[in-house]
């Protein structure tokens, strides 16, 4: 069957912070660009980001991109690539100023400059401390302010959006070059090919693979699934971040900005326990450190409530003025989802699945790279990725708060620029291979014809249960081995999922089934990579290998869908211009 084909200079899949920033770069360069999003752009998950965007503006006191770089490398537990991290931290002030010029409503200081708050792991003096105020914010609605501003700027630039279009698969030719995507228009049910000389993924994370998650329903790792099916490996997927403060029972995030503004964590005896785990940084230690401390408190019986299964986040001592001015959204969320008004009472919180450090491997230009013929980082022509779906790798084994929003705009813009260069140097258009849509059509045909299968709901629940129980904050060898077996079983069930709804019009059952086929790839990659890595580093904590092991494991992992196998590649410990930061013990 031949599908309708439309041609563009570039296709961007995703319209969150990363996709919108990239699209803006391309539209303003006068290119014909199609931006696909499965939801209206401002409904992308970036809208939920709360605490801020990290950049060494130095508005509140001395700061420098070098300090930011040091903190990010230490935060990554030395797994981050230092060239990418230098690029991130040096570009950060420029892209934040640009956002301000685009109209983003940042909070202000009395002198009119952008207000910045402290955040976990961000320190002065190359990690020595004390904490630095580096997080530029719009109250606790920074992501909302950012994604709306970027969308507005794209309206100004006349960017062409394909809203409620679901990208289904990557189109590659025999040489491996990427030539666009297949996609489903939800309203009509039509499937077509969007052919492009360059394809940029900005599809966000895969947080819905866990039962308890701060992530939106739409965060199903679609870009990862599409890339994996097309033979691209996924990097460092075992490193999944659990945010210390999700609302107990609901999973809704309470920003680290609460602790940045002076909030603190307490156990059942009212003890500020972080003083024991991180004497220096206390509640503002790195997220992996705080989440582990909390899980330990709960495990050892010092949790609060009837089930002793949560801790308390106290902020009433900040006073109603500070709370209403700096954390109004948090007050709203606590009242709605925890039945607690933080002006008076502490919020019940637990570590909650939050952020995927790994993803589609790229360099700091946003070009997708894979090992090929002895070169660990050969560029895949025509393919780019940025944002949470990508692994540049700036977050390594653990991301610092505020560094994702920075990542979105720095690498969204850089990937846009890389596409512009590529299109200039490669003006010719390649023909689509005859089997361009085959994978997609096979998947759709299977789904339409499936009888006696299970529902998306059942299989999805099994996937989430498995990941939650077997691949959480603490990882145990027997649980991992069992989890591996179970997730492979779930993968087989995904291949037999059945939908009863066969309508053409806005068939959300079909959409959810296709999303599940992506989520399972992300979940498998995470479990297999976690089982394979025999050390503890950043967010990956194994009971049987309790230490970081630089001699054997200072390397990035790569999971290939084909054969369900692992490969590894070296970490880049050389920044672009700065002195390298060699690995050392990590304490806060």
């Amino acid at each position: 069957m031949a599908l309708a084909t439309r041609k563009f200079d570039a296709v961007v899949v995703g319209a969150g912070g990363a996709g919108l920033r990239a699209a803006l770069q391309l539209s303003e360069a006068g290119l014909r660009v199609a931006v696909l999003s499965k939801v209206f752009p401002t409904r992308s998950h970036t809208v939920a980001a709360q605490g801020g965007i990290g950049a060494a503006l130095g508005n509140m006191g001395e700061d420098s991109w070098l300090w930011h770089m040091y903190d990010t490398i230490k935060g990554s537990d030395w797994l981050g690539d230092q060239d990418s991290i230098e690029f991130l931290c040096r570009e950060a002030p420029k892209v934040v100023i640009e956002l301000e010029h685009f109209g983003m409503p940042f909070d202000r200081n009395d002198n009119g400059t952008v207000y910045q708050r402290p955040f976990g792991g961000h320190m002065q003096n190359m990690g020595a401390g004390p904490a630095v105020q580096r997080s530029c914010c719009a109250a606790d609605r920074t992501g909302h302010a950012m994604v709306h501003t970027l969308y507005q700027r794209n309206v100004r630039a006349n960017t062409q959006f394909f809203v409620e279009w679901l990208a289904l698969d990557l189109v590659r030719d025999a040489s491996g070059q990427v030539l666009g995507v297949t996609a489903l228009e939800m309203e009509t049910g039509e499937v077509s090919i969007l052919q492009a000389r360059a394809t940029l993924f900005a599809t966000g994370g895969s947080g819905r693979m866990f039962q308890s998650s701060t992530n939106a329903f739409i965060n199903t790792g679609d870009g990862l699934g599409m890339a994996a099916r097309a033979g691209i490996p996924l990097e460092d997927m075992e490193f999944y971040q659990f945010h210390p403060t999700g609302v107990h029972g609901a999973g809704i995030l309470i920003t680290e900005g609460v602790r940045g503004e002076g909030g603190m964590l307490l156990n059942k005896s009212g003890e500020r326990f972080m003083e024991r785990y991180a004497p220096n940084a206390k509640d503002l230690a790195s997220r992996d450190v705080v989440s582990r401390a909390m899980a330990t408190e709960i495990k050892e019986g010092r949790g609060c409530g009837p089930g002793a299964d949560y801790l308390l986040l106290k902020l009433d001592h900040l006073g109603p003025e500070v709370i209403d001015k700096r954390l109004p959204g948090i007050r709203e969320i606590s009242i709605k989802f925890a039945n607690v008004d933080p002006v008076k009472d502490a919020i019940p919180v637990v570590p909650t699945a939050h952020y995927q450090m790994g993803g589609i491997p790229t360099n700091y230009h946003g070009e997708v790279i894979v090992p090929q013929g002895g070169n660990p980082s050969a560029v895949v022509p025509g393919f780019y990725a940025a944002g949470e779906c990508a692994c540049a790798s700036v977050h390594g084994a653990n991301r610092l708060g505020t560094n994702s929003l920075t990542d979105l705009v720095v690498f969204g813009k850089a990937a846009g620029d890389a596409v512009i260069r590529f299109l200039k140097e490669n003006p010719g258009e390649k023909d689509l291979p005859a089997d361009a849509a085959e994978r997609t059509l096979t998947r759709l045909a299977r789904l339409e014809a499936q009888k006696n299968g299970e529902s998306v709901h059942e299989v999805g629940a099994a996937l989430r249960r498995t990941m939650q129980a077997h691949c959480g904050v603490f990882r145990f060898p027997d649980m991992l081995a069992e989890g591996l077996h179970m997730i492979r079983e779930v993968a087989e069930r995904v291949g037999r999922v059945e939908i009863r709804d066969k309508s053409k019009v806005f068939n959300t059952a079909r959409v959810e089934a296709l999303e599940l086929e992506n989520l399972i790839e992300a979940a498998r990659a995470t479990m297999v990579a976690a089982d394979a890595r025999k050390e503890s580093r950043g967010a990956h904590d194994r009971a049987d290998f309790h230490r970081r092991d630089d001699a054997n494991w200072l390397k990035h992992s790569l999971w290939y869908r084909d054969g369900d196998r692992m490969d590894y590649k070296p970490v880049n410990l050389k920044p672009l211009t700065a002195e390298p930061i060699p690995p050392k013990a990590r304490t806060y």
């Binding site: 939801v39 209206f40 409904r43 100023i97 202000r108 909302h144 700027r153 939908i499 806005f506 959300t508």
Partner: protein, 231 residues
């Protein structure tokens, strides 16, 4: 709990109908959206939009027991039974609770929803005092859910010509920004019997906004600015 839902699939149904579902409410179910997810598990043909499940993305606006709101921040405990769910009024229905928002977004785009400042970009940020920044509070938080505009009779009758409360609130968001230089052009564009002046201060919009924003106040401010520039 019994939920009665407006169902219509143009691919299959001659006309819309209401369908009843009985779903068990467990202690962990807090919001209406939790129950809609259960309905979807019972009947995968039920179509609705949702994403953030915390009231920030604007996806799941619908008409709940006669009032527009977001399912994800509507408490189950506060709902009258049977719960009646319909698509947002006044917009064409695509399927079930999914409406075609084209006209709503068209009006949003029509107010030039972006900062206009033609001075050369300074090297650092444009300065803005905390007081000037505070002028944007209650405006920039709009999540474009359309609860307001689809509760406004003036928007129902003239969705092609009246900007509607959401669009006007956003227009004022830029008029109120000390960094914006297009105030006159923005006011010229709105000084029109339809675009702004179809608002008859019925206040439905204020009542409907799930983010507690006040479009009527913003509309009043725009009118004040118009008066001020003529004197």
């Amino acid at each position: 709990m019994r939920i009665s839902i407006y169902r219509y699939d143009p691919d299959q149904d001659a006309r819309p109908y209401m369908k009843d579902y009985d779903v068990p409410v467990e202690p962990t179910d807090r919001m209406l959206l939790d129950l809609l997810v259960k309905v979807k598990a019972l009947d995968d043909s039920f179509a609705f939009r949702r994403s953030c499940r915390e009231g920030v993305c604007g996806s799941d606006a619908m008409n709940i027991n006669g009032k527009n709101g977001l399912a994800c921040i509507t408490r189950i405990a506060e709902l009258r039974e049977p719960v009646e769910l319909r698509p947002l009024p006044g917009l064409p229905v695509v399927r079930d609770l999914i409406v075609d928002m084209t006209q709503f977004f068209h009006q949003y785009h029509s107010i030039k929803p972006y900062l206009v400042n033609n001075d050369p970009s300074p090297e650092l940020e444009r300065l803005q005092s905390p007081a000037d920044r505070a002028e944007l509070d209650g405006l920039y938080e709009c999540i474009l859910c359309a609860c307001c505009s689809t509760s406004c009779p003036s928007f129902w009758w003239n969705p092609d010509k009246f900007v509607g409360p959401a669009g006007l609130l956003n227009a004022y968001r830029f008029l109120a920004d000390s960094r914006d230089q297009a105030a006159n052009a923005r006011l010229d564009d709105l000084e029109d019997p339809y675009r702004l002046f179809r608002c008859h201060t019925i206040m439905n919009c204020v009542d409907a906004c799930p983010k507690n924003l006040n479009p009527t106040r913003a509309i009043g401010k725009i009118k004040e600015m118009m008066v001020r520039r003529t004197v």
